[in-house]
């Protein structure tokens, strides 16, 4: 039975693809296939909003779901499914939902649709990836009881509802947080906070392959694993961004290189990740159809502050000043990344171009002087990174050479760790030298960077009470504007102690075919709804 259905889908796919594959095919698909475009994608892990944090899944979910809030290209929150998100004390939030919105199966979108989805994500035994996003909602601990000392198994929670979520009426949801959090509205833009219809909960496994959302596109048929995910325009959509095309076909690729070849062969219309090595060529070939988007992703060099050889702040600063970021960016990333002198990415509100001052500026003489003042470094310096991408080794080698030439540290070794082992190494504080730390932004708030990476229990083993206090103050500030100066003060402390060095900010490089127009990729969404097919 399954097999028959599978081959029927495959057959349909083959027909659809051959119909839009160039030659003027007989008019079997009607106008539908003519107004369809394709997007290269890597196989997603899940399509349940609460259970995935992978970029690939999110690309699809952003077309399928309308979240309460979205972030505009300036990094400011804008209402989408919500009419308003307000609070007097930053602790109890009232979310008003726009009436008249529907799921793809016709079910109305209500406050309950959000509460159900969030409860499911926060419920420990479901083991969904986005579980920790609900950590600051009251009642989270009851849904995630801790394992008793010495045991690997946690007891089953007594409830499956967050006590902090209250459905007041169909269009009003009240959220009580465990502590004031001024950035709450921004976090709601994350797809992990999308609503789910009642129909989803009868069979969550089926929903994961065939999600029902409330966005401008609906799933068309099943997710054909490793091949494609087809979406079609949702005619019942009442929101602010109706789809301009009739359908999107996500074609799943194993390798970025192959996807890029297919873009050149006009077999796929949009790719969001051109391999860095092909970027120069792509720029030349695609012209205006080459898109570079600044991203929220940053690379850092962290120090094991729990290791006594790295406890001198001057030593850490000297290492920062000895690294010529621009030279590495030019050599390894074709000059596309941006050297950083700030802990947060440029697109985050509150970013200051030169927050770090001279400590992040390459200066061989000053670096050496500071290094000697700090007593130098003896023994072997181990540099840690994972083997997930060949470019990590390239830039780490460049860093090692600069430390050798500029500070005279001669004994440097590389510790290249299997990707699956890297994070547990850092988590367990097994690194005894500088290591690559990377952060992919969840939402554009300084809090997302500072608290997650420099806050309590951080990988560097760095402790600073003043920093933590400032973060708390900022989190409970009356408005987002008022929180920014406080986050900046906290950033200043982290920079003056330098437990982790900012290196560079990433850029995403995409491109599209001449078949489509209206491409508006930004750091927050590929905005597939704005694309029209010529």
């Amino acid at each position: 039975m399954t097999r028959t259905r599978g081959s029927a889908v495959l057959l349909a796919t083959m027909l659809a693809v051959s119909a839009c594959g160039g030659s003027p095919a007989p008019d079997t698909g009607g106008q539908q296939s003519a107004k369809e475009f394709s997007v290269a994608l890597t196989e997603p892990d899940h399509l349940t909003p609460g259970n995935t944090s992978s970029n690939y899944s999110i690309t699809v979910l952003q077309a399928l779901f309308d979240t309460l809030v979205v972030i505009d290209p300036k990094g400011q929150p804008q209402m989408r499914a919500a009419e308003s998100v307000t609070s007097d004390d930053q602790k109890v939030w009232t979310i008003k939902i726009k009436p008249g919105q529907k799921f793809h199966n016709g079910e109305p979108v209500t406050a309950g649709s959000f509460a159900d989805a969030w409860n499911a994500a926060a419920y420990g035994p479901n083991a969904w990836t986005n579980n920790y996003y609900f950590e600051n909602v009251e009642g989270f601990d009851e849904l995630n009881p801790e394992a008793p000392e010495g045991s690997d198994t946690a007891p089953k929670p007594k409830t499956d509802k967050l006590s902090g979520l209250k459905v007041v009426d169909d269009t009003t949801l009240q959220v009580t947080l465990s502590a004031p959090f001024s950035q709450f509205p921004i976090t709601l833009a994350y797809t992990g906070f999308a609503p789910m219809p009642k129909a989803a909960f009868t069979d969550l496994a089926a929903y994961d392959v065939k999600p029902i959302g409330n966005g401008p596109f609906a799933l068309d048929g099943e997710w054909v694993r490793n091949r494609q995910i087809k979406l079609k325009k949702f005619d019942g959509y009442a929101g602010p961004r109706p789809a301009k095309s009739a359908a999107v076909n996500f074609k799943i690729y194993e390798s970025r290189d192959t996807a890029y070849v297919d873009l050149r062969a006009s077999k796929v219309d949009l790719i969001q990740a051109i391999p860095p090595a092909s970027a120069g060529e792509a720029k030349r070939l695609l012209g205006d159809r080459f898109v570079a988007t600044p991203s929220g992703t940053m690379d850092y060099l962290g120090f094991p502050n729990f290791d006594k050889r790295f406890q001198n702040a001057d030593l850490r600063k000297a290492i920062s000043m000895a690294i010529d970021r621009q030279a590495i960016v030019d050599a390894v990333f074709n000059g596309t990344f941006k050297p950083m002198s700030s802990l947060v990415a440029p697109l985050v509100p509150g970013y200051r171009e030169n927050a770090c001052g001279e400590t992040c500026v390459f200066d061989k003489a000053k670096a050496k002087a500071l290094f000697d003042k700090a007593g130098g470094f003896s023994g072997t310096m181990n540099l840690y990174f994972s083997n997930a991408d060949p470019s990590y080794e390239q830039w780490m080698t460049a860093v090692a050479n600069q430390l050798k030439d500029n500070l005279g540290i001669t004994d440097i070794q590389f510790r290249k760790i299997p990707a699956a082992d890297y994070l547990s190494t850092l988590r367990e504080h097994k690194q005894d030298g500088p290591y690559r730390n990377n952060w992919v932004m969840d939402y554009p708030s300084p809090q997302n960077y500072l608290e997650t990476m420099w806050g309590e229990g951080n990988r560097m083993g760095w402790k600073n009470k003043e920093f933590n206090d400032l973060i708390d103050q900022a989190n409970s500030a009356a408005t987002m504007e008022a929180s920014i100066p406080l986050y900046q003060k906290a950033e200043d402390i982290a920079l003056s102690e330098m437990p982790m060095i900012p290196l560079w900010n990433w850029q995403d490089q995409g491109g599209y075919s001449d078949k489509i127009s209206g491409v508006q990729i930004d750091a927050y969404s590929p905005n597939l709804d704005t694309i029209t097919v010529k």
Binding site: G6, M14, G124, T258, A420
Partner: protein, 307 residues
């Protein structure tokens, strides 16, 4: 018949030892597969515990393997870390790899033997030299270089073949990847056929056949070539394993959603059940192919059958 049965029975311990070794190897890979699921983000302890328990990752190796086999004989190969049943995952993929392997095999067989015969009969000539040089080149260059080059030259620039994917079905979508995958084996088949043919052409029985006044075609076809094919058939049998290994690279380059891609992904994600599930079937296929090869010897040379 008894011979065939004997061979099949031999396969049983081979089967268990192989699957256990594979399971142990995946088990021994460094790193925590569950932690790696979340990328750079933290996973709450509760989620970690639940997932570890769900996949029996807290148990000792032998218990894990035992549980796996117990379920496997009941037809349940378990599920991936993203919750997809392994049997469903593999179902869709075998077809792709089988079509790719068959395409590559036919290519090796037809073109390889063809080139070998031509080269062997014109030993030292221009054709022979060309075949020798060409095959040396193919053997020396890694598959991914040949793959990407063929994709850009023949797929993109000349548009002779689709660049990637299986949208156009068999054989169109499989021709170029099949040729790339088969190129290495082809080079060997051509060289083996050539050498073997040259040797056999000098053998007594061929001279006798010629002396009897048989036509050249018949001498080569019925006598020399038939004997020359024995080492070639052995190679083609063994090569089936190579094809599977090469499929990992080829399927990656040409974006074919087959078994090779899956093995690669699953090893990276340390998904023991998936890797073992695939390898189990591969081991069975390998045993079967070798059995067929042994039986084919008998057809090519009746002396082997009697002995």
């Amino acid at each position: 018949m008894r011979y065939a049965l004997h061979r099949l029975l031999q396969a049983v311990p081979v089967f268990f030892v192989t699957t256990f070794l594979i399971y142990a190897m995946v088990f021994a890979l460094p790193g925590d597969p569950i932690l790696a699921l979340a990328g750079d983000k933290p996973l709450p302890d509760e989620v970690l515990y639940t997932l570890r328990e769900r996949y029996n990752l807290n148990d000792p190796l032998l218990v894990q393997y035992g549980l796996y086999m117990l379920h496997a004989v009941q037809g349940d190969l378990g599920q991936t870390f993203t919750g997809q049943p392994v049997s469903e995952l593999l179902q869709g993929r075998w077809g792709v790899t089988a079509q790719l392997a068959v395409t590559a095999w036919i290519f090796e067989l037809v073109v390889g033997i063809g080139l070998g015969v031509i080269a062997g009969l014109r030993r030292g000539g221009i054709t022979d030299t060309a075949v020798l040089a060409g095959t040396t080149f193919v053997i020396a260059v890694p598959v991914f270089v040949i793959g990407y080059t063929a994709q850009i030259m023949l797929g993109l620039n000349l548009s002779l073949f689709p660049t990637a994917g299986v949208d156009e079905g068999w054989p169109v979508s499989y021709l170029l990847p099949g040729m790339v995958l088969g190129s290495f084996g082809l080079a060997y088949v051509a060289r083996l056929t050539r050498t073997s043919l040259i040797e056999n052409m000098r053998a007594d029985y061929v001279r006798t056949a010629r002396a009897k006044g048989l036509r050249r075609r018949r001498v080569i076809g019925r006598h020399a070539l038939r004997n020359s094919l024995i080492p070639v058939v052995t190679f083609l049998g063994v090569d089936f394993g190579n094809l599977m290994a090469g499929a990992v690279v080829t399927e990656g380059i040409f974006n074919l959603p087959g078994i090779g891609q899956q093995v690669f992904q699953s090893i990276q994600l340390q998904e023991g059940p998936v890797v073992v599930g695939i390898v189990t079937v591969l081991v069975m296929i390998f045993i079967l192919v070798n059995l067929l090869v042994d039986l084919l010897y008998g057809v090519l040379d009746p002396r082997i059958r009697r002995g």
